[in-house]
Subunit: 312 residues, 2 copies
Amino acid sequence: MKIGLDALGGDHAPESTIVGALKALAELSLEDRIVLFGDEEDCKRRIQEAGGDSSKFDFCHAPENISMHEHPTKAVVQKPNSSISKGFSYLQEGKIDSFASAGNTGAMLVGSMFTIKTIPGVLRPAIATVVPKLKNGSGLLLDVGANADCKPEMLNQFAVLGSLYCQHVAGIDNPKVGLINIGEEEEKGNHLTIASYALMKENEKINFIGNAEGRELFTEYADVYICDGYTGNVILKLAESFYVATLKKGFKDDFFDRFNYERYGGTPILGVNAPVIVGHGISSPKAIKNMLLLSRDMVKSNYVDKIRSAFN
Amino acid sequence: MKIGLDALGGDHAPESTIVGALKALAELSLEDRIVLFGDEEDCKRRIQEAGGDSSKFDFCHAPENISMHEHPTKAVVQKPNSSISKGFSYLQEGKIDSFASAGNTGAMLVGSMFTIKTIPGVLRPAIATVVPKLKNGSGLLLDVGANADCKPEMLNQFAVLGSLYCQHVAGIDNPKVGLINIGEEEEKGNHLTIASYALMKENEKINFIGNAEGRELFTEYADVYICDGYTGNVILKLAESFYVATLKKGFKDDFFDRFNYERYGGTPILGVNAPVIVGHGISSPKAIKNMLLLSRDMVKSNYVDKIRSAFN
C-alpha cells in the first residue's frame, strides 16, 4: 500500500515528519511505501542527513505549505501546489491509499470533502479521538470539532461511524455506544440529545447503551461516546489541559500517560471515501510514526468499505 | 440574619447536615442563626448527641423528604411538608434570608422559580460552580445544568449574573468574562456561541475578553466562563472525574485539592430573588459548613440587590 504523509504539516515540520517517517518505515512491511508531500529536494536531503535512504520513499513535489492560521477553504482552493492539496489529488486519483497530516485541521477536512468526498448516505464526516479508560484500553469520542452544530440524524450516524471504527480498526467486538448527556434517563438532556436518543435506541447497526454523563467518559461504561462537535472539542481540550497539568506537576501514571497524543498519532476523519488522519499540531516524530502506522491499520482494515456497506 | 438549611438534604443527611450546622455555628457571629428544616425532634436529639445546644438553632418542622430521584416539579407540588418546600415558603415569607440544601437540585431550582421567583428582567436563573485556577484562586463557570438549551440572550445574561457574583461575593474586581468556545476568533463556534459573542461584546455591564477554549478553563485567562447548561454540566462532571482519578492515584497537589467540592460547599442558583445554594449530594459535614458560610456571604454581599439593579 501507499501511505501519504504531508511532510510540511505540523509546528515542527519538516524535521518531525521526516524523522517520524523514517521511524515508521522501520516498522512497515516491505510492500508498504510512504509517499512524502513537500519540497522533494529538501525531503531527500533531510532523509540523508538523518541517516536514511531516500530511495525507500516516494515523493510528490509540493513546495507550498498551508499554515495553521490560513482559512481552510480559501487555502485549499488558492494553493493547488500545497502539500495538503497535492495529497488529496493523489488520494482522489488512487495514487495513495491514505493521507495524513499534522497541519491545518480545517484544510484537511475541506480537502476531504472537496476531493475524495463524503461517502454516499453519510450526512457529514466526523473527527474522532481516542479517550483512555481508567482501567485499561481506550474508547472513542466523536465528533470533536468537524461539526459545531449537529442534527439528531448526524449524531445517530456518528454512532455508526464510531462503532465500525472501534470494531474494525481498534478491534473492539460489539462496541457499546453512549450518548454524552446530562442525566442517565432517556428524557434528560437538551433538544439535540433527547431527539438523538430516540433515533439511537432504534438503530440496529449499533449497540446503544444509553446516556453517558461527563464523569463516565474514562470508565468502562461505553466504547464509543457520541456528541456534537462543539461539545466534543471542549471535552477534548479540557481533558488535554488536565493531562498537561498532571505532567507539569510531575505525576506519572499509566492512565494519564495514555492521554499522550503521541501514542495514537492522530485523529481520523470518519465518513469520507479514504482513510484521512489529522495529527496534533505539535506532533513529535513519535506521533508522526504512529500516525503513519494508524494510516496503515485503517487501510488494512478496509474501514471505508465497511462504512460504504453500512450506508448503502 | 437567618440562614436556612435543609436538614434532610444529601446522601448522608441528617447526620452530615447536623454536624455541618454545628461546625458552621462555631464560625458565625452571634446575631446569625441557622434555621433547620427537617424532623424537629430528630434534629434536636442529634444536636444533643453531637454535644451541641439546640437552643442555638431555630427549627421548622418538615418531616418529609424529597429524595434525589423524585421528579422535581411533582415532588415540590405534592410534598408541601417536605424540607425543601417548607424552606422555600419561609424564604418567600422573609422568615429566612437564604436557603441551602444538598438534596435534589431540580427541586431546588423548581422551588426557587415557583416561590421566590426569578428576578424581573432575568430570562432564566443559572447554576454556577467554582473552577480552580492552576496558579491560585478560582473562577466561576455557568450555567452548569439549569438550562440544557439556551438562547444567546440567556448566555449574555449569565455573563452579568456571573460577573456580579465574582465581584461582590468572590471579591474579584472587574472580572474577565470568557465564552466557552471551540476557537479564539469571533467567527468560530456553533450558532449559539457566535450569536452570543455578538451580544456579549456589546454588553457594557461585563468585561468580555472573547472566546475561551476548553484548555483555558483552569488558567488566568478569565474569571467567569459562560456556556449553556448542557455543556457546563458535561464539563463539571468530567472535571470532577479527573479530580477523583488523581485522588485514587494518590496524587496530592494544591491545584487538584481545589477541585474538592467540600471547600466551596455548594453551587449558587443565580438570578432568583434570594440566595439559594445547592450542595453536592455526597456533602460531608465540612461541605455543609461551607455551604452555610457561603449562604452568609451571599446575604451579606447584597448580591441579589445588585442583580435587581443591573436588570432594572
